[in-house]
Symmetry: C2
Subunit: 227 residues, 2 copies
């Protein structure tokens, strides 16, 4: 494990004054009660500010609403997962045996969370400027452009990717009811995620709109439960 | 207006190197195209990190989920609105005539947004440490304790306060359908906000649960539309 930690610090270009912070950032709750979740809480906020400041500088012509959308495409699970792989986090993680057996080292949510915890650990170890510099290095190769404001995902796509990231089956959509006359129908659609036994419902003026509403409700429910 | 700006800087305990940043932070979009919304984008992230770091220190025993809940009670509109009043922001704001006439100087959302913009302006003027110190001063008199994790508002309460903050009528809830046998019913409830012509629906095992789900969907819809 020590070789992993030395290599990781080289890749981060940060040597920890307090190596216990580094170890904790890499510790999943399945391994020890001294896990990384509080560091993740802090790191998420550090990441958010560092990316906001980067976008504020680089996209000087963009209004606030578009900055928020571009930021959402950058600080979400998938790009963080990719950066974590680039840093070699899968090998450095400390996971419980059960998690290792079920593929925890490759799980996007575990990797993205550990990356945020690492950013929080650098913030505690050396202050905001050091953590901001780290975030800027991590995002050096990530594309940033104003058109990303338009590509923020719709709820159905986001739900699908969220489930695929966890190797779960695709959601099932079914029309529960159609209301009103043929030219002015309202669709009532159910979205089901069988693995969770979860069903949510959406209403819309088209089948597609109702499916999007149901997917949005499902995402909200899954995230509220901390899945 | 200059007297207002001098007094405000005294209350902030920050004298701006670049006074144009201060002026911009106080400028609502109804007054000028040089408005404060991009500064608000930045300030929101600065505020979030400064409060996260404060909670991480002070509530050392609290798990991540509870820290997130406590933070949500602090960085929302109502406490920010109160802090903005304490700083004298209502008098210092630069608003268009129409906004002034309809009570814009007292509108909670405008005041909370301007406070975030001010925090963003201090960050640009003097760096993160200065902005963090400001946030800590602003929250000096705000109560912070671990029990606040339990008092995070339910969606119906949050929706009601959101509408009241905008001087709008309360939402209307109505049962659209009850499904299943008497001992195992499912409730299908509609939540309507007439001023917006918005209707959302929620499903639940009790009427109350369905109303909460419908209120959550309504909040999500209103916020997604940037109301």
């Amino acid at each position: 494990m020590d070789g992993h930690l030395a290599r990781l610090q080289e890749r981060l270009r940060h040597r920890f004054s307090d190596p216990a912070l580094l170890a904790r950032a890499l510790t999943h709750r399945s391994f020890s009660a001294e896990h990384n979740e509080r560091l993740e809480f802090l790191g998420d906020s550090v990441l958010n500010l560092a990316v906001s400041a980067l976008l504020y500088e680089r996209l000087a012509a963009l209004p606030e609403g578009d900055l928020t959308k571009v930021r959402a495409t950058l600080v979400k699970q998938e790009p963080l997962h990719q950066i974590a792989i680039g840093l070699g986090l899968p090998e450095a993680l400390r996971l419980g045996e059960g998690e290792v057996r079920t593929g925890g080292r490759r799980r996007p949510s575990i990797l993205a969370d550990a990356l945020e915890a690492l950013i929080g650990a650098v913030y505690l170890d050396a202050g905001y400027a050091a953590a901001e510099a780290l975030v800027r290095r991590l995002f050096e190769d990530v594309e940033i452009n104003p058109r990303m404001a338009a590509s923020a995902k719709d709820p159905k796509t986001e739900l699908q990717e969220w489930l695929q990231g966890r190797k779960m089956k695709l959601p099932i959509y079914r029309v529960a009811a159609t209301l009103g006359a043929a030219h002015k129908q309202t669709f009532d659609v159910e979205c089901e995620v069988p693995e969770f036994g979860a069903v949510e419902r959406g209403i819309g003026a088209s089948r597609r709109a109702a499916e999007q509403a149901a997917a949005a409700a499902m995402l909200l429910g899954l995230k509220a439960k901390g899945r």
